[in-house]
């Protein structure tokens, strides 16, 4: 039984006292609240909506910690890759590893526990979805952002839910959910092309065609994104410096680094066919294909950066008939890491979901079934292995009075490989204190799914660059799955219709991680055999934090300020990856205490748009196993500016300056030094009615 030190208790208490004080302030201020806009309303224009409780609802009254970013905001900010758009979201830690390649963590938890392997820096705890299709990587865990078959111009909006959310969204929504909702064709027919060019040989081209006839719509889009790195050297932990790839002792692996200057070469297409969503039988079908080669922080034996090759196709079908919702998807493809043939893999992933909604005057009950399977064919899993998950879920929304809403969700996951089955739950409540103030509270749990690397992995390698060393890895089928419990208190207050504040206080506990550790050193002449097996860790991470988000809109300008402060402590952190492991308690230095940002947009006239957005990340330290070393990332403020002009109704251009202050540094564990960049875009829009 681990005792919580007094200091931690007081930190937690301070945050909750702060929460009570904030709620108290709003209660006291209710007499000044502006009730002007409520009651009878003639306003029949667009209303912001989300799918956060699996139903359309006002953003204001959503029971979860949620933020959205729409296509217009992405365009205004000069964003050119999907993960970069998350810099506009409170609570998201977004780091650029190489030119145009980003990694994302919600509320942190990267490198938790620390002293582990590089693979644990993948954002394994976020669930990323595209049009409800999970794009989680079931080999390694995490999201391979370059394999998403969408360009920023394909995004209708992004919904980000912070906090454990497995009961509503499924496994792996451990620290939150990032949901990309893509565009659908609308009348009239449209033809769009967007060409972007800029620093470091950046060349991005995107096109889309939208056709609509009778009640059916088709949208076809595709893009190609090529960028060079801002440097050609790689970090070598041995010399603790950036050197030429040829000077790093990699043996045959060096052949995988075909073009050290290239950051990414990604292309994809997406076809979306759907009918009018108001029809009794509504369908929505997407077909996509992507092909990518990127350099990113992944696997890396003697340098953090590896070359990742991917090719995959996916189909996703959603059908709604009355109160039935059905979705099925398939994704298949292959993935390879340059220079590591043992990691080459073919995969097939199926997802199927069926839900039914019972509606009553004050109740909505939504039971459902879910079946997922992931099959990998590779040498590391003895030719072919399959992971399956059967899930049973029920969600209910109860509104006893006009002021109170309760959302409860239960999900039972039966994994084919994990020892236990997992029950996750979410209990969320909102109380409308008055027309302008909403209080909310919630408790929720989430767990990771099983993935190949932890469960069915079995590999024997003899790296050429290590003389007479044989390394064995053995996964554990019945290992516990990491889980998270999150408690939240929140308040949303509209000072006026164009001026609102959203505050959330959160407490999360992360348990049951697992990692590979050396179990034995034996001799098999001429080899020394290093055996690694998966170890269930008693490590727990406890996080307390607060996020504030303020938005103000004027007629021709708006401002959004947001900040998150958090403290994360680790109990039973291991020292080195050699069994038996030794443990100690510490602060999680790998999670920055502060994340903050602002976005301001100004439209001086109908043709011009000027956007500034800034992103601040506090300092943090990542510490990995001794052979990888550690890295200190000092606090960093990045300021970007984008000016956009409509030349006429068909053509618009934009100019973006990124990293205006020239803060050239590695943003993430010994990856590239990210330098200022300039990007110029030209868009051609042709609507059929023209």
């Amino acid at each position: 039984m681990t005792k919580i030190p007094l200091l931690r208790k007081s930190c937690c208490a301070r945050l909750y006292l702060l929460g009570l004080w904030i709620c108290g302030c709003f209660i006291i201020s209710t007499s000044h609240a502006d009730e002007l806009m409520f009651g009878i309303s003639e306003d029949i224009s667009d209303v912001a909506e989300t799918t956060s409780s699996k139903r359309l609802s006002d953003l204001f009254s959503s029971p979860v910690s949620i933020s959205t970013v729409d296509a217009e905001a992405i365009k205004n900010a000069g964003i050119t890759s999907v993960a970069e758009a998350l810099k506009l979201v409170p609570g998201a830690i977004v780091v650029e590893q190489l030119n145009g390649h980003f990694e994302v963590y919600l509320r942190g938890f990267q490198n938790v526990p620390s002293n582990g392997t590089l693979t644990e820096l993948s954002g394994r705890l976020n669930l990323v979805m595209v049009d409800n299709r999970t794009v989680y990587n079931y080999f390694h865990g995490g999201t391979f952002w370059e394999t998403l078959p969408i360009h920023v111009d394909d995004i209708e909006r992004i919904e980000v839910i912070r906090g454990a959310s497995s009961a509503l969204y499924g496994s792996n929504a451990v620290t939150g959910v990032i949901h990309f909702i893509t565009k659908r064709a609308k009348e009239p027919s449209k033809y769009r092309a967007n060409l972007t060019a800029g620093s470091y040989n950046t060349k991005v081209g995107h096109f889309s065609i939208e056709k609509y006839w009778q009640d059916h719509a088709i949208r076809l889009s595709g893009y190609k994104d090529q960028r060079d790195r801002s440097q050609s050297t790689y970090y070598n932990p041995g010399t603790e410096s950036y050197i030429d790839i040829m000077d790093i002792p990699l043996g045959d692996v060096v052949d995988g680094y075909e073009d050290p200057n290239k950051s990414r070469d990604v292309q994809s297409f997406l076809i979306a066919i759907n009918n009018d969503s108001t029809k009794l039988l509504h369908y929505d079908f997407t077909l996509s294909h992507e092909n990518s080669t990127v350099q990113k922080s992944y696997i890396g034996l003697t340098t953090p950066i590896s070359v990742s090759h991917s090719q995959s196709s996916a189909a996703n079908l959603k059908v709604n008939y009355l109160d039935f919702d059905f979705r099925t998807s398939i994704k298949q493809g292959e993935h390879a890491i340059g220079g590591f043939p043992d990691f080459n893999q073919d995969f097939k992933i199926y997802q199927t979901n069926l839900e039914y909604t019972f509606k009553f005057p004050k109740w909505i009950i939504r039971p459902g079934l879910n079946y997922d399977s992931a099959t990998y064919a590779a040498s590391f899993v003895d030719k072919e292995e399959k992971l399956t998950t059967e899930s049973y879920l029920v969600r209910t929304e109860y509104t006893p009075t006009n002021d109170i809403k309760i959302v409860a969700a239960l999900r039972y996951d039966d994994y084919s490989v994990a020892d236990d089955n997992y029950l996750s739950y979410q209990l969320l409540g909102t109380y409308l204190l008055n027309e302008n103030t909403l209080l909310r509270a919630g408790v929720s749990t989430a767990n990771q799914s099983a993935f190949m690397f932890n469960s069915l992995f079995s590999l024997e390698i003899e790296p050429e660059f290590l003389d007479n060393i044989r390394i064995l890895y053995e996964g554990m089928e019945d290992a516990k799955l990491a889980k998270m419990t999150t408690y939240e208190l929140g308040v949303r207050h509209n000072f006026s219709f164009n001026n609102w504040l959203d505050i959330e206080i959160f407490h999360s506990k992360f348990e049951d991680p697992a990692t590979y550790a050396v179990s034995s050193l034996t001799s098999d002449p001429p080899f020394t055999v290093v055996s690694n097996n998966l170890v269930e860790l008693p490590t727990t991470a406890t996080q307390n934090g607060i996020t504030a988000n303020w938005q103000y809109e004027h007629v021709n300008w708006d401002l959004n300020l947001f900040a998150t402060y958090q403290e994360t402590e680790l109990d039973n952190q291991f020292r080195v990856l050699i069994q038996p492991l030794e443990y100690y308690d510490t602060d999680a230095e790998s999670v920055p205490n502060w994340t903050a940002g602002f976005v301001t947009n100004w439209k001086p006239d109908a043709n011009w748009n000027l956007n500034f957005h800034g992103y601040y990340l506090g300092d943090y330290d990542i510490e990995l196993e001794p052979s990888k070393g550690g890295a200190h990332s000092p606090s960093n403020f990045l300021l970007n500016m984008t000016a956009r002009r409509h030349f006429n109704r068909w053509v618009e251009g934009s100019l973006s300056f990124k990293n205006l202050f020239g803060n050239t540094r590695s943003q993430h564990f010994n990856t590239d030094f990210i330098k200022p960049t300039i990007l110029f875009s030209i868009r051609v829009n042709f609507d059929h009615e023209h």
Binding site: E35, L36, M37, F38, G39, I40, S41, E42, D43, I44, S45, D46, V47, E49, L56, D58, D276, S277, T278, K279, L280, L322, K359, F360, P361, K362, T399, N402, S496, F497, N498, H554, V555, N556, W557, L559, T600, W602, F612, F637, L639, L660, F661
Partner: protein
């Protein structure tokens, strides 16, 4: 340091932008008028010289009084009421009344009435004589649309009433059979049905579910209170001399039931 230098330059710019909007407050040479979007026949900015019933009433009253009006650009309804509250806008041609709004705005006498009716498929009509007739049916309304305090309470307790965000979806969902009825303004709804070519498929049931008087709202914080007073009095005169009735009849066909009796339900 660079951040500070930049921030010092940015802040005055933002301040200037804010002040430039405050400085745009109007004088009384011309009063600013605006109205809801897509609210035909009550307010309409799509025709050169016809502004819907409430718009025409305001423009005609102003002409009679020799008051100059400026129609300000279309903005969201919330922005419009915010501007009216702060005196940036003098007149809203067409607004409903709430207790809160009564404290903030001046109102004319009722100029006309809005009627909220049930739209159903023509092959699926039913008798609607009291709210209980809707108890086992599924309905749809526009998000944020109130049916009046009593009816809202009844709907909350007894009805399955879903919400949508736009008029077109509301009618299409009724036509597709996803719901049994949709609630919308009688006159605006008929025009929308024609636009989306569903006039032959959907009909409004004769009994409205709610009916509310509609007014011209004036800013209490406008600098032009004398002109507002004259306009309000002129509207009263137009009510008496039949001018408003003539304006109404130019927008609403006689075959549409538009009696001015308010709806009163027995909820027991």
């Amino acid at each position: 340091m660079t951040v500070l230098v930049f921030a010092k330059r940015l802040l005055p710019l933002l301040l200037m932008l804010t002040l430039s909007n405050v400085a745009g407050a109007n004088s009384c040479d011309s009063l600013n008028v605006n109205g809801g979007q897509n609210w035909f026949p009550f307010f309409d900015r799509n025709n050169q010289d016809r502004y819907g019933i409430l718009g025409d009433v305001v423009f005609q009253a102003a002409e009679r009084q020799g008051i100059q009006l400026t129609l300000t650009p279309a903005v969201s309804w919330k922005r419009l009421l915010f501007d009216l509250k702060n005196g940036k806008l003098d007149i809203v041609a067409g607004a409903l009344k709430t207790k809160k709004r009564e404290k903030l705005f001046l109102y004319s006498n009722p100029v006309y009435y809005t009627s909220l009716n049930l739209y159903v498929r023509s092959d699926n009509q039913f008798t609607f004589e009291q709210p209980a007739d809707l108890n086992n049916k599924r309905g749809l309304r526009i998000r944020g649309m109130s049916l009046g305090q009593e009816m809202d309470r009844y709907a909350f307790d007894h009805l399955i009433l879903e919400e949508t965000t736009d008029t077109s979806s509301l009618f299409k969902m009724v036509a597709a059979g996803r719901v049994d009825y949709g609630i919308f303004y009688l006159h605006s709804g008929l025009r929308e049905l024609k636009r989306i070519r569903l006039k032959s498929k959907l009909v409004p049931l004769p009994n409205p579910i709610a009916k509310e008087p509609i007014y011209v709202a004036f800013s209490k914080t406008s600098n032009c209170q004398a002109e507002i007073q004259r306009l309000s009095q002129e509207i009263d005169r137009m009510l008496q001399d039949g001018s408003i009735e003539r304006i109404v009849s130019s927008y609403i066909k006689p075959d549409i039931n538009h009696d001015n009796n308010l709806v009163s339900w027995d909820y027991d």
